[in-house]
Amino acid sequence: MRQAIALRARSSVAPADLVAIGFAVLIAVAVVLGPVIAPYSPTTFHPEYALQPPSLQFIFGTDEFGRDIFSRVLSGARPTLVVAFSSALVGVTLGTTTGLIAGLAGGVVDEVVMRFMDALMSFPALILSMLVVVMLGTNPVNVVVALGIVFWPRSARLVRSVAVELAKRDFVDAARSRGEGWLYLLGRELLPNVQMIVVVDLSLRITYGVLLAASLAYLGIGVAPPTPAWGLMVRDGQQFIEIAPWIVVFPCLAVALTAVGTMIVGERLRRGVTLPGGERLR
């Protein structure tokens, strides 16, 4: 309780927090209200307005079909972030479970599980996710699964490194000697001690999720053309880059800003977190 108050008091002063909060609000608004506040339909063609440069009427300009880039960028926030967030959630959930089990069990279990994780991690992120989507079929759900698999070993490594140290603490032996089961040890003894690290990791994975989702869309994997996905917009717009650079620039900016924004929010979380016992997260 006292800790929560201290946390709030600290976060109300630092200007870095305002930036973080600002980004969080901006992204949330785009995701929730994007299609609503968009001035034009993101998909309807208006050939008469094709390739208009930014103006008061179309603040980000239009593409070769006369679609408003601003509306398309706003509408693109939701598919990108939903994919990024869900895949981060899938990956971190898998990773936390795996990491806790490996850290608690130690020995052969740890060795086998973590070597499997290492094998998974040795694939380049983009190639692994492409392979998975291509194998499972190209649709947004499979993109989430693919990115989840990419994040899994990274998360598992992080959580395992903390869990190994935790498992050496006497409270784990105390629980063991009481005759507690595996689920209790994992869920009640270890999990609360890694929860803040997991939250911070989640925010980091969302950042990577935004980048990877955009990259996959750019490669034409997972999303089909009319959808206003940022990566896809860059892919389709690049042929006009010399005569209408705004088609490419604004979706790129959107990706970059979202990635930086989630990163700042995560970083802020990381520094704001006070571990129980007063120590700060590094």
Binding site: F171, D173, S177, R178, G179, P192, L275
Partner: protein, 675 residues
Amino acid sequence: MNVMAAMRETGDLDRARQTLEIEELSISYGRGPSPLRAVRNVSLTIAPGEAYGLIGESGSGKTSVAYAVMRYLHGAHVTANRVALRGRDLMRMPVRDLQGIRGRQVAMVYQDPLSALNPVLTVGEQIAEVLRRHRGMSRSAAWDRVVDLFGRVHLPNPSAMALRYPHQLSGGQQQRVVIAMAIACEPDMLIMDEPTTGLDVTTEAIILELVRELRQSIGASVLFISHNLGVVANICDRVGVLYAGQLIEEGPVRSVLTEPQHPYTAGLLAAIPRPEARQQRLHAIPGRLPDLRQVPAGCIFKPRCAFAMAACDTMPPVTEVAAGHVKRCHLDVPATASMEAIPRHVTAPASTGTPRLSIEGLSKWFGGGVLLRRDSDAVKAVNDITLSIQPGQTLAIVGESGSGKSTLARCVAGLLQPTHGRLLLDGQPLAATVQRRSRAEQQAIQFIFQNPESSLNPHHTVEEIVGRPVKLYSDARGAELRRRVIELLEIVKLDGTYAKRYPREMSGGEKQRLCIARAFAANPSLVICDEPTSALDISVQAAILNELVELQQRFGTSYLFISHDLAVVQHVADSVAVMYSGRLLEHGTPEQVFSAPHHPYTEALLAAVPRLDGVRRPRLERPTAAARTGCVYHRRCGRRLGEECDTVMPALRRDTAGHALACHAPADVLQQLQA
């Protein structure tokens, strides 16, 4: 402080005669309206060649004083009229000059030797570097000096030792390297901050002997910081008692420790378990350290003092009670700790019924290969131990670190699977691992760990911690569960309002009480206490030991009590087992074990305990590793008979009174030697 007054009169010339002068030193941490005033107005002087002991419990500010002298306290607010080393004021000295003084004129020995050594350099190189830098020695001259220094701190085979890395040395050897480094430049002043805490008593005895010897040979003054009164009694000429950042008593060591004047000092001394007061409760100082953010105007000890009176609301003057012996107290008579001689130990005659726990031929070996099990390669952490505990009694296991006592405890708890042997609980065979034991068996055996810090989950509230075993082993839920939790907290004298707290909001002693409450929440018949008080201050230790004894009487619980502290063992045990290198060397009642004839190892342990009266017993043994052939102890043994000891491990022989010894020397021979 009277010394100070005298000096002020005689003028500055005399000042240079003192090696260290500290005048009105105050240290506070943190900013804002109420900083933590950790040390307040401490004045002391140390004469050339004198050893000054600064004693106090954790949080008393003794380490802050030492660091302030070295000017290592960055971020703290340090004020002093004067902190001078041989007349040179350290407080106002530029940092550049200070670096010349550190190491060359004043050197420090820290509590944890491993953190004071660089892990990537050989220990010899680290000291040679100091010599080259401070003394401008050549490479080969510095190395010769290192080998010479290692010889002086009695490291075996100095020239080979100098080429080793810190992790290749034992704790005692590491501390000797740190001491060698400290004396390398022949400083005028050695500051030793708990240099023997964390070492075995036998190693401690060797280090203390070394410090005494070095004091004579290099003539350095020593500021010796410790919480262990026995250690200070053995090393120091004068002693200052620090309580909550204030020097409350100071004087010649003999005088302070035999005729303490301040109620706090008297209380500390009374809290030490003594063999002659075995049947009594220990004296525990009530209350806890005051909050140093709000320092009262009066006596800082008043809230915990049995002699508190109206005058105590004003700051007590410093009064001299005997030559050089001063106290800061309003009381004009010597304080005595009110030793209520509350008898305890309704010692049940060693019952001959079914033991609560029988350990039969238990061994735990580590390593030795999985496929081709070669017994000779295995580390025999516990080797063929047979012991039993009667209901309501305490079996204490003593030994140095590495003796296998904790491994044995973990085997009994089912946390480790024994290699050989079996366990019986109330005559019934007990499964080897805790997972395979029944709920009732799991409930019957509970564990109290050494470090309360690490044995409590920081994310669980007190209620969850104590409530969990209740929930696990009984049907109590809801209001019934809460009632039981409050009841358990009250049994260990914790307030019911603690239920919603987290461990971080409690003191070390309170946390250990909580661990005791958790163990007793299961209604156990056997509690394993693994060094339950070694992480605690003496006054807190006394309260915890009283608690354990009371609970045992109330619930008839048996204890398997692991400790390296012989005084504690003597206080709580009904029978004592002495372990060395995995073997049981002696077993009997405390009277049998602690009086002659005893095993030469027990004899060495007892001789190593620093005594409050400063009397030192001769040390017989040589410090070396345990032997792999013959008697495990023969290489260290001071009573070695001959070839038989080198080749055959003696069997445990039990006499008619039940006293068991594993030694080739017959009991009557040992009796003669040890009398």
